[in-house]
Amino acid sequence: MTAPLLETHDLVKDYVIGGEVLHAVNGVSLTIKRGEFVAIMGASGSGKSTFMNMIGCLDVPTSGTLLLDGIDTKTLDSDALAEIRNRKIGFVFQQFNLLARTSALDNVAVPLIYAGLGYTERRERAQAKLEAMGLGNRLQNTPAKLSGGQQQRVAIARALVTDPLMLLADEPTGALDTQTSLDIMGIFQKLNDEGITLIVVTHEPDIAEYAERRIIFRDGRVIEDAAVKSRRRAVAG
């Protein structure tokens, strides 16, 4: 029996602001299995991003346990965490976070630098992922020459280029118009069908309906965790 992809026990993140302790994440325990497509919802300030940053190994919990692929992240040093971010996790951000004045191809290849791959292999893999995102004719474009939807697809290609176990997306459609948002959710569904685990933060209920499981945060706690009843399927194309 393999361990679940992600397991948290009583996960807590405190911030001290002006002498007052703020429990941004206040005791979250949940399990996410391989291949799940999870939507995280909740009001602004409810702790969604803080939670995502911890499970993405970008931030360290104040207390509680985080098991990633069966490994307790408390036992890992900064190099090992960097390696997990590189190999097992792909990030998609609301603001895309592409390197300016850098071609789509080079942007997508960045994680492969840190994976220690050679130049040719980096280019080949990056190109393949961009082609899979329908950007085969935009390889040399810099972010400034791409639309928002295209930029987010470059970012998804970058997140996928090391073939990670899961994709973490914090409001990936927050900066996009409705149609483009639906396109992105379609891409996520397709990737999920191919087996990748997806955790997507959104505050739009209809976007959340593309997922198969919906978790709702309030004041740093999970107040609802259930399967999506009438799941939407993206229209092909």
Partner: protein, 416 residues
């Protein structure tokens, strides 16, 4: 093996990232490089000029002749100025006594020095005249490249003959052959019998700007400053057979002169006896201090350049905090981030160092041409300075780089 290849490839990537970042802020990169460039330029030029001074001094001393002692009738003042009141006398007779009594002496060349004016039709020159005997040629390696040098006959007859240096010849006769021509020295007509072999110039001192006449002639016809006796000389050059006899001979001469002039015990001798070896040593020390001061001043500018690098790297880290966070999110280890910024600083420094080196080599060459002063830039200086600038980059880029690598991924990513 593959790990090694990977790490080399990793550095290649870092260089690529660094070049991109530097190109993005081209103007800033150029200005930063300029600091290092000027620093390296100054250091290399200082070393070159210092080396040149040493070479020049060595050459200058070599023109004096080797294994020689110089005797002057002045108390030994060390490096300070002599006190003229204590001036003693020195005579040709003293010279003959030295030749007779001091062991290992091969020749003694008595000299009187005097400033003179030379005139040919339509031209004139002022120079230093040395009244000498043929021994002067032997002891200090002076020969005639055209015509002939002084003979005992010239001295015995107090002949009005002169051997002139190349610079004097150029001034008075331009391109014409001066040998056999007549020149008026302090209004007295002299016949030019020879041209001194050129000894070039060192440290702005032209060795060819002089003339040599028989000591007897100078005494009778050209002397401007009065001597106390008919036999008095300005100085003696004493040539020795080898370095060992020079060393013991110096002490013997000092003792002998004290005896001859009955200098009481405890009184400072009114004579200075210096060997060419000593002169070489003291001047060598002086030029070394000169070089050290030059290099120290130049190093300060390199230090300032290094601080400039640090400043710019700190700005760069601050500006690119978000990029650092992103790279960490994508899997960059702390060491990757550190190396990225280190390489960036090192690239700035090495480029600055290389340009500074090139300019210094050019400047040294121009200096050599214009000032007629050797300023050799050795391969060792070149390698050392470029390596030095890379080290500057690593030291001054190191702090910002380590600071960047210590950022927490999420805090870096959240920064604006």
């Amino acid at each position: 093996m593959s790990k090694l290849l990977n790490s080399i490839a990793g550095w290649g990537v870092n260089i690529a990232i660094a070049m991109t970042a530097l190109r993005t802020n081209l103007m800033r990169s150029i200005l930063t490089t300029l600091g290092v460039m000027i620093g390296v330029f100054a250091v290399i030029l200082a070393v070159a000029v210092g080396n040149g001074a040493q070479v020049s001094v060595t050459q200058q001393i070599a023109t004096l002749g080797s294994n020689m002692a110089i005797v002057v009738p002045q108390p030994d003042s060390g490096s300070g100025p002599p006190r003229s009141t204590d001036r003693g006398r020195l005579t040709e007779r003293d010279g003959r006594a030295i030749l007779r009594q001091v062991s290992g002496v091969s020749a003694v060349a008595p000299q009187i020095r005097s400033s003179v004016q030379l005139v040919t039709p339509g031209r004139s020159a002022t120079t230093q005249a040395t009244g000498a005997t043929p021994e002067y040629g032997i002891v200090s390696n002076v020969t005639a490249s055209e015509g002939r040098f002084l003979t005992d006959g010239d001295v015995g007859a107090a002949a009005r003959v002169v051997v002139i240096g190349q610079t004097v010849a150029d001034k008075l006769f331009a391109d014409a052959n001066p040998v056999g021509e007549t020149v008026r020295i302090n209004r007295v007509p002299f016949k030019v019998i020879g041209l001194l072999e050129s000894k070039g110039s060192n440290l702005g001192n032209d060795n060819d700007d002089q003339i040599v006449v028989p000591i007897t002639t100078l005494r009778q016809r050209l002397q401007t400053t009065a001597m106390q006796g008919p036999d008095d000389v300005t100085l003696l050059f004493v040539g020795f057979e080898d370095e060992d006899s020079l060393f013991t001979g110096q002490q013997e001469i000092k003792r002998m002169l004290r005896d001859r002039y009955r200098v009481p015990k405890g009184r400072i001798s009114p004579f200075t006896v210096r060997t060419t070896t000593e002169i070489a040593e003291t001047t060598g020390q002086v030029t070394q201090i000169f070089q050290a001061v030059l290099v120290a001043i130049a190093s300060i500018s390199l230090l300032v350049g290094g601080i400039g690098i640090m400043n710019i790297m700190l700005v760069s880290v601050t500006e690119r905090t978000r990029e650092i966070g992103l790279r960490m999110a994508l899997g960059a280890k702390r060491s990757d981030i550190r190396n990225q910024f280190l390489v960036e600083a090192a690239v700035l420094c090495v480029i600055g160092g290389a340009i500074g080196l090139t300019l210094a080599v050019l400047a040294a060459a121009i200096f050599q041409q214009v000032a007629d002063f050797p300023a050799p830039v050795g391969l060792d200086t070149a390698i050392m300075s470029v390596a030095f600038s890379a080290v500057i980059g690593i030291i001054f880029g190191g702090y910002p780089a380590i600071r960047a690598s210590r950022l927490s991924p999420i805090e870096a990513l959240r920064s604006e």
